[in-house]
């Protein structure tokens, strides 16, 4: 039922406004005035509360279910961090508030910059990018600014491993680059030989995730960075997988020049059913002149202040109207403060422990690991290629059937190079009991696949809807409710 299905013309939630007098200020020209009803719903407050409460109940979420969505790091979002960030003084602070009434906020951001520099081993951090993809944009734009600055305009290519997340190539293009894919070896590493073949004077940079989206740590990272650097390219680190190595290795130490972090992953800020995110970028000294503005500076006399293009004249500019997803940054700051350095060290450890445990247990019950000879990092891949052939049960079928068991499905069919794959990321905040429950569910789905495959292929059965017709959705576009 849509909210429009319960509306009635003339109805409204009258506690929410003072009735309007009818005199629109007469200097507003008639031609500029709206002369029809916008068509928002005409409903009561109770109807709104009931409708959206009921919609919420048609969602899986971390608070509701184990949600091992690989690459997305769906860990517990501490309620305390949200509470801290929604202090009335923070909520009511205007983005353009004078500095004299901004010191509390700015101090948090300044310290967060410092912590993120420490965590990543980078020389400077800008907090403004509003999600991972915007962080990537900022990073690649800085790579470009660097080459431009050095009049190195032959560098027109960004290299991307074939397992890369789609945002990587898309970002490269947004920055005016062409993309060239590097293959992956059978054990999940970047094919160093292939890399050496293509790297050269047209290479602006290489974008990499490490641990990669294959759920393994790129063992030859030092060589790789040498190859790229030697060719005059720069190295971009996609920090979506930072959870795996938090407090264990620093991207700066691996030789990366620039990176983004997904605070809504590693720093446990809620993803809100599609966002907001926050994707700060960190850079080595080399790229420090180019960071997106504003960043927070501190001056012993005057306190915290915004550093803008006056102080960072070579900045790639600002990426949003104000300073990015401030509220998410405050949550990340709160999370960092609660963890402390001790806690951060533990994140990578236990995320890795959970992933390796699950990988072992799933292999035990009969699933095929994509990289059985590798350590899992914070995530790992199983492939259902053989089940799919022998039983006609695909990775998607298993994913859908998991929903019936009360588990959110892992990421499906990503990375693209591994057939029928599920990318599984348990995160450190899940208990072993929860992991065991998932393994048990997977085992019984495998049994079902053998004995009653239709149960699996026709899944889900217990969700509010059965499988949806995606083709129809794209062909007979119905994106907004037509007016009556």
């Amino acid at each position: 039922m849509l909210i429009y299905d319960v509306e009635s013309p003339g109805r409204s939630a009258t506690a929410q406004f003072e009735p309007a007098s009818e005199d629109i200020p007469d200097d507003i020209p008639i031609a500029l005035r709206r002369d029809n009803q916008a068509g928002l719903p005409a409903v009561s407050e109770l109807q709104v509360v009931r409708h959206f409460t009921s919609l919420s109940r048609r969602n899986f979420s971390i608070d509701g279910q184990f949600y091992p969505l690989g690459s997305c790091t769906m860990k517990y979002n501490p309620r305390g961090a949200s509470k801290a960030a929604t202090n009335p003084g923070f909520l009511s602070r205007h983005p353009l508030a004078p500095l004299s009434v901004s010191q509390g906020f700015l101090q948090c951001l300044f310290e967060l910059q410092t912590y993120l520099m420490d965590v990543t081993g980078m020389a400077r951090v800008s907090l403004t990018p509003m999600a991972g993809a915007q962080g990537e944009f900022a990073g690649v734009a800085m790579i470009r600014a660097y080459h431009d600055h050095h009049n190195d305009d032959a560098r027109t290519e960004i290299l991307v491993p074939s397992a890369a997340h789609g945002t990587n190539p898309a970002t490269a293009v947004m920055c005016g680059y062409t993309v060239r894919e590097i293959p992956i070896t059978d054990d999940g590493d970047v094919d160093l030989e292939a890399l050496k073949q293509v790297v050269g004077p047209s290479t602006a940079g290489l974008m990499m995730t490490n641990p990669s989206t294959c759920g393994v740590f790129e063992r030859r990272i030092t060589e790789i960075q040498q190859v790229v650097h030697d060719a005059g390219g720069l190295l971009y680190y996609d920090g979506a997988n930072l959870n795996a190595i938090l407090g264990k290795v620093k991207p700066g130490d691996m030789g990366f020049d620039v990176m983004h972090m997904n605070l809504h992953k590693t720093f446990a800020t809620p993803h809100g059913g599609g966002g907001p995110g926050s994707g700060p970028v960190g850079v080595s000294e080399r790229l420090a002149p180019y960071v997106p503005t504003p960043i927070v500076g501190h001056d012993p006399d005057n306190g915290y202040y915004w550093m803008d293009e006056r102080e960072i004249p070579q900045t790639i500019g600002n990426l949003s109207a104000f300073m990015g997803n401030a509220g998410i940054l405050l949550r990340a700051y709160a999370y960092a403060r609660m963890l402390g350095h001790e806690g951060m060290h533990r994140v990578g450890e236990y995320a890795t422990l959970n992933a390796n445990y699950m990988a072992h247990r799933l292999a035990e019950v009969g699933f095929t690991l994509a990289y059985p000879n590798r350590r899992a990092t914070h995530e790992f891949i199983i492939t259902l290629a053989s089940e799919s052939k022998s039983m006609g049960v695909t990775a998607m079928d298993v994913a859908k059937r998991l929903l019936d068991y009360g588990y959110h499905a892992p990421t499906t069919y990503f990375p693209l190079l591994i057939p029928e794959c599920l990318l599984i990321e348990p995160t450190e905040t899940e208990s072993p009991e929860e992991l065991d429950g998932f393994v048990k569910a997977m085992a019984s789905i495998l049994e079902e696949a053998k004995t009653e495959p239709e149960t699996v292929t026709a899944a889900p059965h217990k969700m509010p809807v059965r499988r949806l017709d995606d083709v129809r959705a794209a062909r007979q576009l119905d994106l907004v409710l037509a007016r009556q």
């Binding site: 109805r11 928002l40 966002g275 104000f322 001790e342 422990l353 905040t429 949806l468």
Partner: protein, 462 residues
Amino acid sequence: MPFIPHTDADTRRMLDVIGVASKESLFDEIPADLRAGHLTEVPSGLSEMALLRLMSERAQMDQTEMSFLGAGAYEHHIPSAVWDITTRGEFLTAYTPYQAEASQGTLQLIYEFQTMIARLTGMDVANASVYDGGSALAEAMLMAVRANKKARSRRIVTAAGVHPHYLSACRAIVGNQDIEILTADLDLQSGVTDGSSLATLTDQSAAALVIPLPNFYGALDDVDELTRLAHNKGMLVIAVVNPTALALLRPPGEWGDRGADIAVGEGQPLGIPLASGGPYLGFMCCSQDVVRQMPGRIVGRTVDLDGRDGFALTLQAREQHIRRAKATSNICTNQGLLVTAATIYMSLMGDEGLRAVAMQCAQGVRSLQDQLIEIDGVSSRFTSPAFHEVTFALPCKASDVVDRMTRRGIVPGYDLGQVDLKFAQCLLICVTETKTPADIERFVVEFSQAIESCMSGVATPC
């Protein structure tokens, strides 16, 4: 261990299953010389109690009594129900609705959002949000360049008075794709676009004309005329609008003869707190013709195996996870939770409520204006009518007035000297429905005192 449930026994048992002796062994594929990660700048952990106290002390430092700042972010009443429901775990802690069957709540809500925002702007369709108003405009420019195949132009012209921060974000975002942004001059009398300047700029072919309503200085352009001009020259029209204003003002879908082609804006006024600038949401609407050029998530209504209505992400072939280098944008995570809040807000306000709010904004600013121009040396800087924000010319530096009044607990508005030195004596003041007549009265008193002491060069006592 905050947020980690493992007991020592758990860890032991798990290591045994894996067959390693210690957690350290799990990292044995990482070259030893890289393993370090010692953190020196991160302090020790705090309990939630200590954290909340720290953060509440910090937040209190930033609290003011009253603010008349607008300039792109607006203080409106937010019904309590909005965030009570938005922060339900099921909305707050879900990821992007990749598994449609387990995400019908979020998906249907986005469909309702798309419907509401498309109706409010008078456009055919909408997407599920981009980051903010500024980046929405940048995406709209990229989209226009892709969509306007006839024009074969990588130039974008803007009317005067597009939010300067939006413009600089656009430059940063579209610049690497060789797109040029040209801006018409502001008519310094009226506060809207200078016609002849725009005429010159549109002489050459361009992909689109950007038209703000209201503009950054609070003023209202003749959007019909500008839209016709652009369409006549083969340009698409990109509207940048304040959604609250659309309850009173003509929606982009009705501008000129066939409406704007793309409409974007900042969704913050729709139930989202000021919160230092984000998370907000950029909305993005367009006409049916160009929907396949629109970036970002889009939800469609479809049916399930039993023929029941259901909702799913659609047109994914535009997106990075499918199309990779050929995608319409690199955007992935957007501002889903803010869409949730805005949808609940729009449902609670309805046409009647949003119109009432818009009306009170417009009336409030008129009342303030009437009183301020009585003060010696203070006048409205521009002649154009305004919605809820007005540029005032002061007899002294706006920054001084801001300083003085802020010390007295009132942030009086935005010092336009920050965006243009020629406006150093101009203050952009915003009134919303949150300001009572008594608030306005207090403002006027404090304001005239501030002006007076600025003029006499007296330092205000703290």
